[in-house]
């Protein structure tokens, strides 16, 4: 055991190096264009080419997809809950950090938000730093949410952890499993605060596992259905109806689909990506569990059961839309830029309905304003007739680690607590599009102004508050969420594209793959 432990610091570097170098070793050698004398190099000289694949592979993994296309943040939000839609990434100049005042205790803070939202994080940190002299928060940006948790895990061995880290919703179980976390519940109890009572209930429920609030939510989102009110009025649909059943929506999509004289579709009823996050939501609206037992809320989840009737119903609905020619599938969401294709189709009026996070609202509104064609409306996510469930929150929260001195830990809590102040949350919500995690934030004037400007926003909060607390709507926690989402989206693609005729079979296959990984993960946590 000891010997294994001493090897740990090297793990991060070696593991990353190993795959790359292996690939290089596999056949990197013919790097020089030795055209006339090809056979002279013995097969073992790997040296010159070692750097080549490493250099081309590594940056592409994180940077390239983000640059691929389009003005949206959908690739940054790829595998997690989505960030705001219209962040024109290249034009952002980072807000500079202010200097540390003498004698203050330094707190390191990693965050995974980028673009415009990343800048607002930096602005908030500056506000905190200039508001007091005891602590100084050094904010360090990470490439995205995925990279943040990967870096956190690989830093565990070296001991160089941040004091505070922002981690996405689906990283919750993995963060607990690092065993380096100080649950914020402990700090709240110690301070005797009534903070939890004032948190948005659905948000508090999500980050509560086994009765304990582990991290303090920071940016929270929720899924909604977006629609074009103008198109609805045009074809005689009720533009104020908030809850649509699958059947009603299929009917509406048929009415909304517009073709030109040649039979070419100029407006599709619905445009959607194959998005696991929405799939999870549709399970929740039907009150179905994602993982067994109890979505991992009481004891560790040991089996994924997302391949259920609720899932089949959602997939069948999407397939019906496509087969009827009234729905447009633009491909898988996680890890791709297809989300930008969906967004562009919706804001240009090429499709009348789509499903996405409420955090995209202002991007949609701003991008439709110029053309003046689309009037953005927000409704609840659709559901089958009679479904009684609700939606699960998305977004990210702040975790405090056991890193550093007691002063630093106290400082970490001071900063985290500060971010939940109603004023801070009102500013945060008004400048990003996430909803406030504190109920008290709605009393702040800035928040009232924002709601007056974006009345659609309140539908998301209303939908959230209409959700009955239950294990399905609390959301699943388990350690292998990222890969499970990929498996689900692959299954969705198989079924919607028609290569697998049976939705249940496609989902069963995904569940069996996802369960293999989960079982292995759980076996490393005992």
């Amino acid at each position: 055991m000891n010997r294994v432990k001493t090897l740990r610091p090297l793990n991060a570097l070696l593991l990353i190096g190993l795959v790359m170098t292996l690939l290089a070793a596999c056949g990197g050698k013919p790097a020089a264009p030795a055209a006339t004398a090809p056979a002279t190099n013995p097969p073992a000289t790997v040296a010159p080419a070692t750097a080549v694949p490493a250099a081309t592979v590594a940056p592409a993994a994180t940077a390239a997809p983000a640059a691929t296309a389009a003005p949206t943040a959908s690739s940054a939000a790829a595998t997690s809950a989505p960030a705001a839609t219209s962040a024109p990434a290249p034009t952002i100049t980072p807000v500079p950090a202010i200097a540390q005042s003498a004698g203050s205790t330094k707190i390191t803070f990693w965050y995974g938000l980028t673009g415009a939202n990343g800048n607002i994080v930096r602005t908030l940190v500056n506000t905190y730093n200039s508001s007091q002299n005891t602590y100084y928060v050094e904010a360090i940006q990470q490439p995205d949410y995925d990279a943040t948790i990967t870096k956190f895990n690989t830093s565990l061995a070296g001991g160089d952890l941040p004091n505070v880290v922002q981690v996405y919703d689906i990283g919750t179980q993995r963060m607990i499993d690092t065993k380096r976390i100080l649950p914020v519940q402990n700090f709240i109890d110690k301070d005797g605060l009534k903070l939890v009572d004032d948190l948005e209930p659905a948000v508090a429920r999500y980050y509560t596992i086994g009765g304990k609030l582990y991290s303090l939510p920071f940016n929270s989102s929720a899924p909604v259905m977006y629609y074009d009110r103008n198109a609805f009025k045009e074809v005689g649909l009720d533009p104020d109806k908030k809850i649509w059943t699958y059947d009603e929506l299929l009917d509406a999509a048929t009415k909304l689909t517009k073709k030109d004289a040649d039979g070419k579709i100029i407006r599709s009823g619905v445009v959607f990506t194959l998005y696991s996050w929405i799939y999870e939501q549709e399970l929740a609206t039907q009150g179905a569990l994602f993982a067994d037992p109890t979505n991992g809320r009481e004891t560790r989840a040991n089996k994924l059961i997302f391949n259920n009737d609720a899932g089949v119903k959602w997939l069948s609905f999407l397939k019906q839309l496509v087969d009827a020619g009234v729905g447009t599938n633009v491909g898988r969401d996680s890890g791709t830029t297809n989300g930008s294709v969906r967004d562009s189709a919706f804001v240009k009026g090429e499709a009348a309905i789509t499903f996405n996070s409420i955090a995209s609202l202002r991007g949609y509104i701003n991008n439709t304003k110029a053309a003046g064609k689309v009037d953005v409306g927000v409704a609840y996510l659709p559901r089958p007739t009679g479904a009684k469930g609700g939606v699960i929150i998305g977004g990210a929260s702040l975790w405090i680690t056991d890193q550093g001195t007691p002063e630093q830990q106290a400082g970490a809590w001071d900063f985290v607590k500060w971010t939940s102040n109603p004023e801070v949350q009102a500013t945060w919500s008004s400048s990003t599009g996430y909803y406030p995690i504190r109920k008290a934030a709605y009393d702040v004037q800035e928040m009232k102004d924002t709601l007056a400007k974006y009345p659609q926003f309140s539908v998301a909060v209303e939908q959230l508050r209409a959700t009955e607390p239950s294990f399905p709507t609390q959301g699943a926690v388990f350690g292998t969420f990222l890969q499970t989402r990929l498996a689900i989206e692959a299954a969705m693609e198989q079924f919607i594209s028609g290569s697998t005729a049976d939705a249940k079979a496609a989902l069963d296959d995904a569940a069996s793959k996802a369960n293999d990984t989960l079982t292995e993960y759980n076996s490393t946590q005992q």
């Binding site: 264009p33 997809p65 490393t524």
Partner: protein, 326 residues
């Protein structure tokens, strides 16, 4: 083996011929050790890097491939050869996605390698034409060498994007039920392969052109005097004398196509429609970065290494046999 022999020869051929044989051997052994130490000293900078960044990670990945690791990368439990049997579908699960992924890699190779060589050869022949401004055209033909695979992928992502509609005519022509060539299981791999061919064209072109230019002109002249047509010159002079170059290109292109990753990550970002573009390297990437199964990713890397090792040695053997010397 040749080098140590040379070393010994030089040691033996010094002036101490008069010494008894045993003493001579002792001296020579001593000197040999000294020479070896000296050689090590000179080699050490390169060796240190190789050991630190190639051999230790390589050995460690072999070691890791027999263990289950936790998300921090610590080995948790010995796993025997289970990962290997899983990859090769010998574990009785009946799930062959990794073998399928190897097959996909082979398909990709079969698309990219011949296409790349044929295009490069055609362009190189064009570039040998004696026309005005041929240098200008050669520069154009070479230009894709200056574009990194990542940048090229971004360019092609836009070309294939349903928002630009640049490839919509192909979708219409084939009556595909999709919005992008990259999202249909029957076209996705072709689309990536075509882009890869384009990216590697510059390099392949330069190598082929250099090969053609290295063929002595007098052979063509004597052929022309004998009344050979230009097709005949190509068929019986250019092509045979170019085989070493073409085989060399084939070797490199095959290895590169087996290692291709960037374009898959940028253009597709997942295993593709119906896993149509889930090449083996991408499957390794998924296992390592998305699943955090470091042991499993290591086992896959080792398998890929062995495949490429076998492939390379086969190709070297071919290369040795099929070279036409003048």
């Amino acid at each position: 083996m040749r080098k140590p022999v040379l070393l010994k020869d030089s040691v033996l051929s010094d002036k101490r011929v008069g010494l008894p044989i045993a003493a001579k051997r002792a001296v020579s052994q001593h000197q040999q050790r000294k020479a070896f130490g000296l050689a090590l000293l000179y080699l050490s900078p390169a060796l240190l890097f190789l050991i630190a960044f190639t051999y230790i990670p390589f050995l460690r990945s072999i070691w890791l491939s027999f263990f289950i690791t936790n998300p921090q990368g610590d080995t948790v439990r010995f796993n025997g050869i289970n990962y290997y049997t899983r990859i090769l579908n010998l574990d009785g699960s009946g799930r062959s996605e990794y073998l399928q992924s190897m097959l996909t890699t082979v398909y990709f190779s079969l698309l990219v390698v011949p296409l790349g060589i044929v295009f490069a050869l055609a362009l190189a022949l064009l570039a040998t034409l004696n026309v005005k401004a041929i240098l200008f055209f050669r520069t154009i033909f070479t230009s894709s060498i200056a574009i990194s695979v990542a940048s090229a992928s971004v360019i092609w992502a836009l070309i294939y994007s349903p928002t630009t509609r640049a490839t919509q005519w192909i979708i219409d022509l084939l009556h595909l039920n999709t919005h992008s060539l990259l999202q249909h299981s029957s076209t996705a791999l072709f689309a990536v392969a075509f882009m890869t061919t384009w990216t590697s064209l510059g390099f392949n072109f330069i190598v082929t052109l250099a090969g053609i230019q290295a063929i002595p002109k007098d052979i063509y002249e004597s052929a022309r005097i004998d009344g050979a047509s230009s097709w005949q010159s190509f068929r019986f002079i250019t092509l045979p004398l170019l085989t070493p170059t073409l085989l060399f290109l084939m070797l490199i292109s095959t290895i590169q196509s087996f290692q291709a990753f960037t374009q898959f990550n940028v253009l597709i970002g997942n295993e593709g429609p119906d896993s149509a573009t889930d090449v083996f390297v991408f499957a390794i990437f998924t296992a390592f970065w998305k699943d955090n199964r470091y042991g499993f990713a290591s086992a896959m890397s080792v398998v890929l290494f062995l495949i490429l090792l076998a492939l390379t040695s086969i190709q070297y053997r071919l290369l040795d046999q099929r070279v036409h010397y003048q």
